[in-house]
Structures are given as structure tokens and as C-alpha cells.
Amino acid sequence: MEIIRDLIALLFFPSGLVLLVLSLFYEWVDRKLLAQFQNRIGPRWFQPFADVIKLLAKEEVIPQGVDRRLFIPLPIVGLAGVLTAAIYVPIMGMAPSHSFKGDLIVTVYLLSLLTLCMGLAGSNTIGRFSLVGATRTLTQLFSYEAPFLLALLGPAIVAGSWQISEITAYTENRWLLLTQPFGFLVALIGLMGKLELPPFDAPEAETEIVAGALTGYSGRGLALFHLGKGVEMLIGLTLIAAFYLGGVSNPLLFFVKTLALLLIMAGLQALLARLRIDQTVGVWWRYGALLVLVQWMVIIVSKGPVL
């Protein structure tokens, strides 16, 4: 029975099929909202599904000069990483199917695995655009990763646990957004950096380096990376909503809060122009890291000498 339960968790829910469908739905919401902000009509609801199915059906071109042993597994590893992360996260308001002490760190690490895979995928090819894109992807990873992690650890400290299920139990009906506004801000913007959304889309700035690290990918590999991005966005939104917005204890709250966050993110995407990679690094280390450290100081001081 145990095995069947695990298989369902991995292949159907919370990870697996339901998660993929849900992430594509969120991608559609994001695209539609952005289009509306930009005075466009935007895609119809099935467009992300059609994109992925089309890509999966297409021929996968393996460019010259790549290491096939790396080129083919990288998208699979990346997607597997984020799908695994999903089992520790309260997707759709359900309690995480697996949980252990310190699973927050594992989740954040698994999310970064996708970015690492993309960086590796870019540097594995000999294409100019991929190489520049890979450099930028990894540079960006190092700039937002620390502030993002620290921002997620803020709620963990007040909850006194690094286990997601315990933190969510603590934040239930406690809006940490009000007590830790900086942490929330950094976490949300960090998620945008992680997803390489505007204004942090320098790693895939199409007007400079075409598609960045993934320029060499086509067909299945591209589809898998694409899915991975979608899942990463969903998990990120879930974590932030659960930690800062008073928890996601039932599906209704989950959808309302994550979609509200998505609305903010789409608005920011429409509002801001792309930053250069050096400016991105500057923003993160100068303001992001500073804000989150100030937040930490406040938490530690208010919590007293217990820590």
C-alpha cells in the first residue's frame, strides 16, 4: 500500500500529472494577464497545453558539438527535480505528502536544480548565444539565490522549524506579510528572478541572445524545460502564499492567494523594463540582500535571545 501511495504522490498528485496540468493553467493565467496589461488579447486557455504537446511531438535536433550524455538527461533531471520538490509543498492546500525536518532547504535546492540544469545545458553547447545565456543564467542564480533563501527562512525562524508542514501550521491565519513585509517583497521578486521573468529576463533576452541558454534545444528537451519552469513557478507561488499570506489550508484559499500573487507578478512584468545582467546583480546584492538582512535583524531582535 505504501508503494502505491508513493506512486500516486509521484505520478498523479501532488506531483506528476495534476501538477503539470495546474502549472500550465497558471502559465496561461500569467500570459493572459500580461497580455491584458499590455492591451493585447492574449492566448486562449489551451494555448500552453497546445505548445507543450506540439513541442513534444516535434523532432528533437541535437546540435553539433554537444555531449549527448549531458544534452538528453539535463531537461529530465531538471523537471524531475522540481516535480520532487512538489511532494514537500502544500499544493492545492493539501498537506504535503512527504515531510521531514529541513525539507524547506531540500525544496529550495531542488528548485535551483532546474536553473543549474539550464546553465549546464547552455554551457554544454558551442553556440554563442547559449554560452552567453548560460553565463548570465548562472550569474543571476548567484545573485538572487541567497536573498531568496534568506527571505524564505524568515518565516521558518519565527515558526521555529525548518519543516514546511510545521511552518505552514504556524503561519495558518498569521499574515506574516504584515510583520515581515521586506521578506515578502524579496521572496516574490526573487521568484521572478528565478523564473527569469521581466525585468530579470536578461538570461533569455531575445533581442540580444535569442533564447539564451536554451537556444540549442528543440522538441522534447525544450518542452521539458518549459514544463519545469511552470512547475517551479507554481511551487514558488505556493511557498510564498503559504508562508506570508496566512496559509493555504484549503483549495479555495490556495487558488485565491496564489492567483493574487500571480496578478502582482504579471503587473510587475508589464511595468518594468529589462535590467542588464550587471544591473540585476547590483539590484540583488545592493538592495535585495540588504532588505532581507534588515528583516532578519528585526526578527531576531523581536524574537529575543531564544535563537
Binding site: 496589461f37 499590455q38 492591451n39 493585447r40 554563442r128 548565444f129 554560452l131 552567453v132 521581466p198 525585468p199 529576463d201 536578461a202 533576452a205 531575445e206 533581442t207 540580444e208 541572445i209 535569442v210 508589464a270 511595468l271 518594468l272 523594463a273 529589462r274 535590467l275 542588464r276 545582467i277 550587471d278 544591473q279
Partner: protein, 398 residues
């Protein structure tokens, strides 16, 4: 040692096919990390041999050929050609025709600058501005369609005048559209001068001092953004511009922001001129009769295209075909500045600097898209295609 350096150079090719370029051009950018150390430009991917082709056609057919040099600033090419030819033939187009020429030219400038605003914003990754400015550009396109029947390649000019008149209803439509555009333009000016994120990409980037601008020989808004007062409409007023004087819009800073500000302020200037013309449109005929053969002689015709000075040299040998037509488009003057300015900047700034001059490769290369009139499908090699082009324009076709 030198050879070793060659190997270590990391070159990023931009073009001929690249998302940053809406038309084919090729830039080979050598980078050190993210910093550009050298840039080389190669043009001609859109070369159609139009200058040669004009020698095979009569004066009237050339008007329509030259109008197709560029899809964005088509009217100004035809205007330059008509003005030059009318001077050679000693025919003067009636005042009403001249005013309508200028009107269409200013509408074209509006549509061109709006298009540029969108493209440049897109290069900077500011897609919202891109979407909005292109939506508003549709207003001008509709006006042009309403006036001339076409959204691009209006064919408003004929030798000795214009083909289309303006009635009161059309004038009213234009007035109303200008109100809307003026309000939108004010908003855009506000955005490009106050949006902090966008300013990070434009302020102090690609600075060209006044001296550099003069030495590099740039023209048009690019030069005016560096404080060079160079506007043919004001310096050497042609067509109806003597009756509707233009104020030259200038900025001193010479960076990308200045180029944005100059072009947007030029929009206001265009609105003003269009209003002046509509309020005071001279009555009379629309065209003067032109002779079929143009007397022997040569002339220079200079006009201000949306991208800068457009230069035509026309030589007639007394027949119904030109001896030589030389077209010097503004982009070629500005293109060399990109190569010089890019050095020392971030790779990310290169598309912005390129977009900053508002390049128009087709103008530059003077070619035409091959019309697929034969339904028969076959794969052509590059040579075959080129051969077809040469034959097509060498009169074998006619």
C-alpha cells in the same frame, strides 16, 4: 602572439537573422565577457540593385520603383524623386499638391517614429511600451489609408503633383486623431523620461558628443540628439515647408534617452505642422503636366526622411529614362556610428544602440522583395535567386 589572440576572441554574431533585427544585417561583435571590444558590420542582405534598375525604366515607372525602396519611409523617397525631377523639367507642382505632399510626409514621420518607439522599447525589454505605441500607431496608419488608399507605399505622389485630395471630412478625422495622438505622445514622453528602470537602459548609454556626431557624419534625429542642428526641412526648406516653417528639435546630451526625447518631441512638431496645413490648405489644382522626356541635366534633391537626410542625385540624358539615379539613405550615414559607439559597452546595450539610430536596412540596401507570381514551387539556390534578381531588374523582364 597575434594568432593566439585571434583564437581567444569570443565573437557573437548578430544577424543576418536575429530576433533583434527586424531586417537582415550582420554584426560581428567581439566580446570580452559582456563587454564589447570590437564590432564589424556587413550589409547587403537586402540589396536589390534598384539604382541599376532605374536606368532600365522610364521616369514614371521609376517613381513606383523608388517608392518601394523602403516600406516605412516610402513617401519621402517618392517625394525626393518628384521634387528633383520637377526641378529638372522646370515644372512646378501646384501649391495644394505641395501642401498635401508635406502633410503625408509628416503623417509618415509620425508612423515611423511611433514604430521606432515600439521597436526600441522592445530592444530594451520593455514590451508594454512596445505594445501600446504600436496600438496607437494604427491610428496614423488608418489616416494614411483613409487619405491615399494604402497603409504603406501610399503612392500619394505623381510626377508633377499628387494623386489624392483632402476633403473636410478627412481633415476632421485627422484633427480628431491628432488630439488622441498628442495626448498619448505626452504620456510616452513622460514614460521615457521618468521610468527609473527604463532610464537605467537609456540614460548615459551610447553617448555621442556633438564633435563625434559631426565627425561620424550622422544625420537626422540621431544627430539632433547630439546637439547638431541638422534638419533639411529647416535648413533647405523644400516643397511646402517654406510656408510651414519647422522648428528644429534638438537635445544636447547625445545618449539614448536624448534620442528618445528628440523623436518624441518631433512628433509634437509634426502634429503642429499638420494642423497648420489643414487649417490653411491652399486651393487649386493637384497636378501639373510633366513631359515624357526630361531635358538633359542633373540635379540634387535633399529631403528630411524620418531617419535623417535623404539624398538623391538625378542625371538625365534627355531621353525618357534616367542616365543615373544615386540614392543615399540616412541609415548608411548613421550605421557606421553604431560600430564605433558599441565598443566599450555591454553586449546588452548593442541592440539598444543599434535601435537608437532607427536603422532601416532595406533603405540602405535598396532592394525589393521577390514577388512570387509564378505558382510553380521550386527550391532556388542563392545564386539562382540572385540571378533572377539581376535579370528581373535588367529589363529582360519587361
Amino acid at each position: 602572439m597575434e594568432e593566439q589572440q585571434e583564437v581567444e576572441q569570443f565573437m557573437v554574431p548578430i544577424g543576418p537573422q536575429h530576433p533583434a533585427l527586424k531586417e537582415p544585417g550582420h554584426f560581428l561583435i567581439t566580446v570580452d565577457g559582456e563587454i564589447v571590444t570590437n564590432a564589424v558590420v556587413r550589409l547587403g542582405y537586402a540589396h536589390r540593385g534598384i539604382e541599376k534598375a532605374t536606368e532600365e525604366r522610364n521616369w514614371v515607372r521609376n517613381l513606383y520603383l523608388l517608392e518601394r525602396i523602403c516600406g516605412i519611409c516610402s513617401h519621402i523617397h517618392a517625394t525626393a524623386y518628384c521634387l528633383g525631377l520637377e526641378r529638372l523639367a522646370e515644372v512646378e507642382a501646384p501649391p495644394r499638391a505641395q501642401a498635401i505632399r508635406v502633410l503625408v510626409a509628416e503623417l509618415e514621420r509620425i508612423h515611423s517614429h511611433m514604430l521606432w518607439l515600439g521597436v526600441a522599447a522592445h530592444e530594451a525589454g520593455f514590451d508594454s511600451l512596445f505594445m501600446y505605441s504600436w496600438r496607437d500607431r494604427e491610428t496614423v496608419m488608418d489616416l494614411l489609408e483613409n487619405l491615399t488608399g494604402n497603409r504603406v507605399n501610399y503612392s500619394a505622389n505623381v510626377l508633377g503633383g499628387v494623386k489624392c485630395d483632402i476633403d473636410i471630412v478627412q481633415a476632421d478625422t485627422i484633427f480628431m486623431a491628432l488630439e488622441f495622438l498628442q495626448e498619448r505622445t505626452r504620456h510616452y514622453l513622460d514614460v521615457v523620461t521618468s521610468d527609473a528602470m527604463f532610464l537605467q537602459r537609456t540614460r548615459g548609454i551610447g553617448v555621442m558628443t556633438r564633435l563625434q556626431a559631426e565627425v561620424l557624419g550622422v544625420v537626422g534625429p540621431t544627430a539632433r540628439a547630439s546637439g547638431v542642428h541638422r534638419d533639411i526641412r529647416a535648413e533647405a526648406p523644400y516643397s511646402a515647408y517654406p510656408s510651414y516653417p519647422v522648428r528644429v528639435v534638438c537635445e544636447e546630451k547625445g545618449d539614448l534617452e536624448a534620442r528618445f526625447v528628440v523623436r518624441i518631441n518631433e512628433l509634437f512638431e509634426s502634429y503642429r505642422i499638420i494642423r497648420l496645413i489643414l487649417e490653411d490648405l491652399p486651393p487649386g489644382e493637384l497636378r501639373e503636366k510633366m513631359p515624357r522626356r526630361i531635358r538633359e541635366g542633373e540635379t540634387v534633391s535633399r529631403v528630411e526622411a524620418p531617419r535623417g537626410e535623404l539624398f538623391y542625385f538625378i542625371k538625365s540624358n534627355g531621353t525618357d529614362k534616367p542616365e543615373r539615379i544615386k540614392v543615399r539613405t540616412p541609415t548608411i550615414c548613421n550605421m557606421m556610428s553604431v560600430v564605433k559607439l558599441a565598443i566599450g559597452h555591454q553586449l546588452a546595450d548593442v541592440p539598444m544602440i543599434l535601435a537608437g539610430i532607427d536603422p532601416c536596412f532595406s533603405c540602405n540596401d535598396r532592394m525589393i522583395i521577390l514577388e512570387r507570381s509564378h505558382a510553380k514551387q521550386e527550391v532556388w539556390s542563392w545564386e539562382r535567386l540572385r540571378q533572377h534578381g539581376i535579370e528581373y531588374y535588367h529589363g529582360n523582364h519587361s
